[in-house]
Symmetry: C2
Subunit: 369 residues, 2 copies
Amino acid sequence: MTSSDARRLLILTEGQFQAHNAKTAMGVIRYGTDEIVALLDSSIAGRNVNEWLPGHDIPAVGTLGEALAMPNPPDTLLIGIAPTGGRLPEDWRGIIIAALGAGMDVHSGLHTFLGDDAEFSAAAASSGARIVDYRRPPERHETAIGRRHRPGSRVILTVGTDCAIGKMSVALDLRKSALKAGDSVVFVPTGQTGMMIDGWGVAIDRVISDFAQGTVEWMVGEAESRGDWVIVEGQGSLDHPAYSSVTLSLIHGATPHALVMVHKPGMANHDFDHLPDVSFPIASLPEFIRLHEKVAGLVAPSRVVALALNTSLYQDDADARRVIEDIGRETGLPAGDPVRFGGDALWASIHEAVEALPWVQANDARVEA
Amino acid sequence: MTSSDARRLLILTEGQFQAHNAKTAMGVIRYGTDEIVALLDSSIAGRNVNEWLPGHDIPAVGTLGEALAMPNPPDTLLIGIAPTGGRLPEDWRGIIIAALGAGMDVHSGLHTFLGDDAEFSAAAASSGARIVDYRRPPERHETAIGRRHRPGSRVILTVGTDCAIGKMSVALDLRKSALKAGDSVVFVPTGQTGMMIDGWGVAIDRVISDFAQGTVEWMVGEAESRGDWVIVEGQGSLDHPAYSSVTLSLIHGATPHALVMVHKPGMANHDFDHLPDVSFPIASLPEFIRLHEKVAGLVAPSRVVALALNTSLYQDDADARRVIEDIGRETGLPAGDPVRFGGDALWASIHEAVEALPWVQANDARVEA
């Protein structure tokens, strides 16, 4: 995408910006490269995103009309939520129809494909607007082939103790630090938000189960042709009652040399936001780390080389730093909160640990057939 | 399905009956309840299935015409293979067109849906024949909800050290033994062959990753409303480089009280029949059993209560029995080959072990909300 096709985004979170579902909006605001003109959410109209995310000066408007009346109006409506099950809230239909009618493109990462909706596609056709469904899977239907990594490549996957705690953010912040350190690095988006940010990838949770591992394997191969360090965005958690198989398709499809474990200290139970009565406790870290290495090792050896902690439940910086130190000591691993405090030190530890892994060195020494 | 709609099957394996891919044909021949008029496979024309599967008197014919000229001709062509990737062999198109043209229904479990093929659907429309694609997933798009088992139910899942070694056959033979023992038992088909045999289920490898666990959870709920003992057909293996995530969706979606581990002694490497140069060793049993219990236990406690061994690599019955005894001793678990020697004794051991599991007793004592 050249700068002349840069989008001017209006992000739609109507009524949900302050809820957990708005992680797509948060990710695009934090890590995206397009201009964000405004947020459309009547529940916070008149306020500014920088109240929640300092440094991001984005006004919130209450109606589509207000956004279109701005001096440099948006040209793209981006659906800013990722609800469980991925459906479109019924009361958003009117906003989408109006945006398409006004000629705005609509970009969505929902499971429900907006482009397949007769009313939406008719509205788009009559105004010349485009609908982009990021979660639409590729036509490629291939199972994994047991591919080996290119000698010289180092593949890292973020895993975690729950979904929606920052596996994508950590991957993106580590990429930033890797670039700063002069490493040749590629990010592999595996979810709709990562795709919206980086412009490629596959929403792996949308792929047919039989082809999930094959699709991840193929994406890693693509990334290896573009850089030496490959950071794959993780999904879900290995112990999540609903999403663990998606997590395993990443672990066994990417066959990462190393894992970075993302964890949110202070959280007691898995995220089942749509089912408040269902409770599954978060795993204990040391045991969970060992189990990841065992499970990954069923297909290819891997090691958890660092902990990326989401300390957002600790308001005070000193408390957050103390928690990081405690958990680092408990697990014997380098630990940090790259999103809050920057990822440079953590990346340096990861870089050093990965270079020393025997299976990385063995693969470097291998001559490709 | 009443007896008046019983099908008269012609099973198509053209050129592949003796290859590994014909597991669909084998499963339907062994466990199906419809009449099998003939096998269509020119590579073994004139021979009889009972050469390979004693007790199954089914002639092999070389052409569709021969089958249609039989005294009581078949009314349904069943695609008898399950190749990796699930595509239709290109040179089978002519046979399918001819069968549809002759008014025969065509039943398929391939990933490629025959009903979506313009030429096939036109041929079916003009003759009034029906195309059934067993692998077509349900429209239901729901993630798992953390459902608990009905008090009184006992859920068992077959897992294994590789794909295509008999997880479905073991489940079906154990069901037979359970029925004989007077247990109220339901089989949950999770692959196309099991569905062709039992008339319901979902081919879980075809389901969108995000909904795989939710779909398994839902099927188990259905089964629990129909019987006390639920035997879920497993898929793949937890260490398979291509299919492990499908396996995990069954383990975490079914949350089985107990697991039956299926293993094929004498096999060294995973089945990668389409990639002869790729080699992944089969896991060591005792460690693999412990790992299954750990991984299952991330969501709900489970125990491997028995080993079902596929001894087909040991021609001599005495050798097979010695191998079963050795592996039983090595693992400390009840072991048998239910497909070869009958499953009654193994079922009795499983029944007793499952009844004694503390989490089964705790669930029985639970009062449903």
